[in-house]
């Protein structure tokens, strides 16, 4: 299940610092993510984990540091470049399009792959229609994979929390991402839902070879499915390594137990 062989580096962040006014969200953080691995980012609340994902995604622009993705180094990422480059993500507080159905939401994930012009769409024949069908097929595979066939026409605003999270994962998967960023995908779920979600994540990694960066609070899940872990606290990296290494690291234990820092 875990990827042991050393493979190439897909994403590297180097000396990233990010602040908002006087608040230092990230301070001099560096780590890398290897192709095909599941890399977890953990840390106490407020450690800067979501900010890190936002930097990778291009939503936040760091004041310092470099982001190197697929060999190309940048001072900051632009959201559209990230999406076009195969980075997809889910959000901590579910960012689904509440006015649309499950199917439509996941279809928006295909957006970067669709391009037929407005004119053909107005007529809905020929190229636009073929494109729509083609992508619909792909999206149906995603729906099958996530076992959400029965809710495909339901407006997502009406779905329970756990299913919404699944739909959001579907939207990210629909983009056929090279790098998948998951921000607390299991927050608020019960044991059964967590098991399902873990299974989906692992299968995505196994079958499609998608590299996954995962923020998660449930230590059991982290230990089970990650290849490597990065630990953040107060915006800094305090440890990294395999789950075993991190679990026994004294600094990490201190951070979680709230031992005061200097």
């Amino acid at each position: 299940m875990t990827n042991e062989q050393t493979s190439e580096i897909l994403l590297e962040v180097d000396a990233i610092s990010l602040s908002f006014g006087g608040v230092h969200a990230l301070v001099d953080v560096s780590f890398d993510i290897r192709k095909g691995e599941v890399r977890s980012i953990i840390g106490p609340n407020g450690a800067g984990k979501s900010s890190m994902l936002n930097v990778i995604n291009g939503f936040y622009h760091p004041q310092q540091g470099t982001i190197t993705y697929q060999g190309q180094a940048r001072k900051q990422m632009r959201p559209h470049d990230a999406a076009a480059g195969g980075i997809a993500r889910t959000f901590q507080n579910i960012a689904l399009f509440k006015g649309m159905s499950t199917l439509d939401n996941i279809m928006t994930g295909r957006n970067t792959h669709m391009s037929k012009s407005l004119f053909w769409q107005a007529l809905h024949i020929g190229p636009a229609r073929r494109e729509e069908i083609e992508h619909r097929e792909f999206v149906e595979h995603v729906i099958d994979f996530l076992e959400i066939q029965s809710i495909r026409k339901t407006p997502v605003g009406r779905l329970p929390y756990g299913l919404q999270k699944r739909v959001e994962l579907g939207r990210a998967l629909a983009a056929e991402p090279t790098l998948l960023l998951l921000d607390e995908p299991m927050a608020g779920m019960n044991l059964e839902e967590k098991e399902d979600m873990s299974r989906f994540i692992l299968e995505t990694n196994d079958e499609f070879g998608t590299t996954i960066a995962l923020i998660e609070h449930d230590m059991g899940v982290v230990m089970d499915i990650s290849d490597r872990v990065v630990v953040l606290d107060y915006g800094r990296k305090i440890a990294e390594g395999t789950p075993e290494e991190v679990r026994t690291n004294q600094d990490v234990i201190d951070a979680y137990l709230g031992v005061s820092h200097d």
Binding site: A83, A88, F97, T108, M114, L118, A122, R136, A175
Partner: protein
């Protein structure tokens, strides 16, 4: 019981994605269209055309346009009146330059001109949202109306400031001017509106429509999954303005025959169309038609009841109309923000069970 979909199985994505997937809906729409195209032209008269059907169609088209921008893409606009003016004046000047041109081409070009203007005034939407954007569109509204009033070139330096349409024929049949029959005007407008409405339905269920709705629902997330806000918003402004421009041209050339900018295209017009889409249902093609029917009929009903029946002056009827509009807006926003279109949907859902209670 009669409205059940049982037995209607879809075996291909094509049929699942059809415009009207439920057979009963399909028949209903075909029925309405048949009535509209085949029956009405033979029974229509001057009053019905000018007081009810033509304004209904023209406002429905304008409402479609505004709904695309505000209902589907979430960009609030109070400039509808001014954009209708752009379409009207564009058609006026175009007919002046090319009197022999086919009027459909004139309409299309008027729409394109309005689309261009719409995109320019839509540029601020990239930085501004919500009611801030509404204020920006007010700039368009007031400036454009002022411009059409002041700059003589637009109205061919006519002393009254009004523009009047010249008689135009469409493959031999008069559709504007005093010779045009109500049936001709009606059929022409109906065809244009029907074609554009079907196109609108196609667009909103395709990629671009989804982009618009994504921007409306959560524009940050939309950007983060790769939708380009610039292109999505500008395309919404462009398509919306195209529709509104064509509506404005029809409003001027076919429905009214002559207009004067301050009165015909002022901010009250913008509110009028906004009310249509609120009452009809934001984000719904059907809603534009339901809302337009509703709003066009109310003043007529009021006049008939109050002036004809109860003997009030027409001024008072006008005041009551304003009061009633306001109350209806508030009522709909509280009770059913998705307007008549949603009520229609709920009625259909109840119809599935009828005559059983649940």
């Amino acid at each position: 019981m009669f409205y059940r979909e049982s037995g209607q199985l879809k075996s291909s994505y094509i049929s699942d994605q059809a415009m009207f997937p439920i057979a009963q809906d399909r028949w209903f729409v075909i029925g309405v269209l048949a009535l509209a195209f085949l029956v009405v032209p033979f029974v229509i008269n001057e009053y019905w055309a000018n007081a009810i059907l033509l304004p209904f169609l023209v406002y429905a088209l304008a409402a479609l346009g505004l709904n695309i921008l505000t209902g589907y893409c979430g960009q609030v606009s109070l400039g509808t009146g001014a954009f209708m003016a752009v379409g009207a004046y564009a058609s006026f000047k175009l007919v002046g330059f090319f009197p022999e041109a086919n009027f459909l081409i004139v309409l299309a070009l008027s729409g394109v001109v309005t689309a261009a203007v719409g995109m320019i005034f839509g540029l601020p939407s990239l930085r501004i949202k919500g009611f801030y954007l509404a204020v920006a569109t007010l700039a368009a509204q007031f400036f454009l109306v002022w411009m059409f009033n002041k700059v003589g070139w637009f109205y061919d330096y006519n002393l009254t400031g009004m523009i009047t349409v010249r008689p135009i024929d469409f493959f031999g049949i008069q559709i504007t001017g005093p010779e045009a029959t109500p049936a001709a005007k009606y059929l022409f407008t109906l065809t244009v509106v029907a074609v554009l409405a079907l196109s609108a339905k196609n667009i909103v269920r395709g990629r671009v429509g989804r982009e618009w709705m994504a921007i409306r629902d959560m524009d940050i997330a939309a950007e983060l999954i790769g939708i380009r806000p610039l292109q999505a918003k500008l395309s919404a402004f462009a398509v919306s303005s195209f529709y509104i421009g064509v509506a404005g041209a029809l409003y001027f050339a076919v429905y009214l025959g002559s207009v004067e900018p301050v009165e015909a295209f002022d901010i009250n017009q913008s509110f009028y169309v906004l009310f249509i889409i609120i009452i009809g249902g934001l984000g719904s093609v059907l809603g534009a038609f339901l809302g337009s029917a509703f709003i066009v009929l109310i003043p007529i009903l009021l006049k008939n009841i109050m002036v004809g029946g109860m003997g009030f002056g027409s001024g008072m009827a006008g005041h009551v109309e304003i009061l009633l509009m306001g109350m209806l807006i508030i009522f709909f926003l509280i009770v059913e923000p998705h307007g008549l279109a949603r009520l229609w949907q709920i009625a259909k859902e109840k119809l599935r069970l009828w005559p059983f209670p649940h």
